[in-house]
Amino acid sequence: MTNHKPEAKSRSDEAAEGPDGGWSWPLVGALFVSTSLVFGLMRSLGVFFVEFVQYFEESAQAISWISSTGLAAQQFFSPLGAALCNAYDTRVVVMTGGFLAGLGFILASQATCLVHLYLSMGLISGLGWGLVFTPMVATVVANITRRRALALGLGFSSIGIVSFIFNPLFQFLVETYAWRGALLILGGLSLNIVPCGALIRPQRRPKAPEKVDSESRPSCAEVLRRVASYVELPLLMERPYLTYTSAVTLLNVGYFVPYFHLVAHSRQAGFSDYQSAFVMSAAGATDILGRVASGWFSDLGKFRLLHLLTLWTGLAGVFIMLLPVSSVFGSYAALMVISLLYGFCSGAMTSLVFAVVPMIVGVERVMGALGLLQLIESGAGLLGTPLSGLLKDVTGNYIASFMVAGGFVVLGTLTMTTLPHYFSCTDPPSPRRRSHDDNDKSLHFELEQISRSPSDAGHRGVQ
């Protein structure tokens, strides 16, 4: 295997700099823009919610369902997006997704009641986002082999960077144009995902259906089989994928808790509002740094990506558990240091989480694998934050919430160590898809050796 490695590396160089090698990096730019317009936008909608509460005279809880619906729709429709890309052209799917996302906001600007907002901003935009995010990530993962983690890290760093811009921008838009006008403009902004999708090279043929006899009316079972193959359902039968998915789900239960509760916890520990907010901003800044740095470092190839991922997740879990401990002693410096470290580790984690997937399922099935992963880990998010809130209500402070959250993250890390061949120093050959002809087979084998990079995992982590 080591003999093949240098060859494989040079081949991957060639592949990365192949006919469209120069084209791969604009794809990273496209990922940057589309991710910022999906998750960065989602995060900055808080300004609108204040307006909605006033205009529709509803409770803050009812309004917050809008963003929950959007996020849930994005995650739920991810396998659909993946399946459509497998069946048809990725470019068309992403462009359609961008159009839908924009359409959702445009319709929302005409809303007259809260249900309209749920349907437009929540469902339609969420569907659009689902059709955009997974295909974009999978395309970047597939097209960039050598610097995969760096590309992903750069792409996902957009979320943090853009949230600095979007929050004041949206405030300004709401002031100048009222929320209806601002939503209309946001719809236009979301339409910018369409050019990002256009950057993806068009596909000529769909995956794998050649084997299917071209009968005029395929039977029900056949259709189902095809759909299952597009969605990559058989992946759920494979132990490595299942293990990885459960690990990522566990990670997601605890991963977000600090983002939601850190400010409140700092205030409760006795620090001023300004100090608490600053801790959060500092953690956000190191998050961005962690994404890019970890991506760059992982691509140096010194360690296995999977090992690096478990390192970052383990550290993140430990730091989450240390967070309440540091503030219990009333030391602002300790809280700040632990938060910075936590921010760095969580950012480092997110750029690797997706990059590990091709290693586990093979590059070919990345699209479907990512889609399924997003769907499955959506449950984690639904569980994690309410659970931490509940623990806080029951115990009166955040110590239990953070401990449990950190515990889940550490548990996820431990689950990851049960992946097959975890303890070997080099990556095992990734599974091959059973392809139709021999050329394909050997081709895929080569590619999989090359493409042992991390993939999937918490698109949420990406946020």
């Binding site: 592949a15 006008g181 043929r205």
Partner: protein, 273 residues
């Protein structure tokens, strides 16, 4: 002689009775009107009851610094700078059994203010402007005036459906229905009047056009269409037949590689090794 004693005893009793009347507090001054500073003092006279201490209350709340346990029948409270927040009813309280107290009113001009000096409203929608007042005594009269180019026109409640004014002593609300860009943009001044005088504050109303957001939106849509067109044209121009090759190239392994015998297949060549 006995009658004389009886009458004098009766007179003495009556005099004594009249002497032990309710304790009297003399306040100085009795009322503070429109002054920048004052010293309030209370003098407890005609009381033989023991005094355990004294303090002052402002609008029903204890003034902490005035708490004293001296048994003097005299107490003062110094107000260095009288603003609307320090106006109100001051009570000096002597801790006797039972308590005795007296009120001094400190009156100032009303303080009229608004939370938002710049209000936005949407065209054909309604615009709401609010002024409130703090201080003592609260305004009894509120009026609104519209100022355009220095010319002030009063707004009268109820003359048309356009203007509605709702006032309470603390707060006044002006609601303008069916906003129009041509006529309703401008400054609106609220006047609050109490027995001492009048104060006012100004709010600037901006009316947003319904279609104002349409232009930036159309601009962004145009930019998106141009970008997509550029990308497609660039692709078509650069490599018209490489587009086919790209599909089969190994760089994007998501695509199926069944037609794998094209020239640009580096991967293919590797395979052949």
């Amino acid at each position: 002689m006995k009658l004389l004693w009886a009458v004098s005893a009766l007179l003495l009793c009556c005099w004594r009775a009249s002497a032990s009347t309710a304790p009297n507090i003399i306040t100085e001054p009795s009322e503070v009107v429109n002054q920048t500073s004052a010293v309030l003092s209370c003098n407890l006279t005609e009381s033989s009851l023991p005094i355990k201490g004294s303090h002052w209350m402002h609008n029903g709340k204890l003034v902490d610094s005035s708490m004293s346990t001296d048994a003097t029948p005299y107490t003062t409270l110094r107000l260095d700078k009288i603003t609307h927040s320090s106006s109100g009813k001051y009570e000096c309280v002597f801790m006797t059994d039972p308590e005795v107290k007296q009120t001094i009113e400190v009156k100032t001009l009303p303080h009229v203010s608004t939370h938002k000096h710049s209000e936005h409203g949407n065209e054909n929608d309604k615009g709401v402007m609010v002024c409130d007042s703090h201080g003592y005594p609260l305004p009894t009269d509120w009026t609104w005036v519209k100022e355009v180019d220095g010319i002030q026109t009063p707004i009268i409640n109820g003359t048309s459906d356009k203007y509605e004014i709702k006032s309470t002593p603390n707060k006044t609300t002006l609601t303008i229905n069916d906003l129009s860009i041509n006529t309703d943009i401008g400054d609106y001044i609220c006047f609050g009047t109490n027995e001492l005088g009048t104060s006012h504050d100004k709010i600037h109303l901006r009316v947003r056009s319904r279609l104002a957001a349409l232009w930036p939106f159309l601009g962004i849509v145009a930019e998106v269409i141009i970008l997509v067109a550029i990308i497609f044209i660039y692709e078509k121009r650069r490599k018209p037949d490489e587009v086919t090759d790209d599909d089969d190239s190994g760089a994007a392994p998501l695509k199926s590689n069944s037609n794998a015998n094209h020239k640009d297949k580096n991967v293919r060549q590797r395979n052949s090794n």
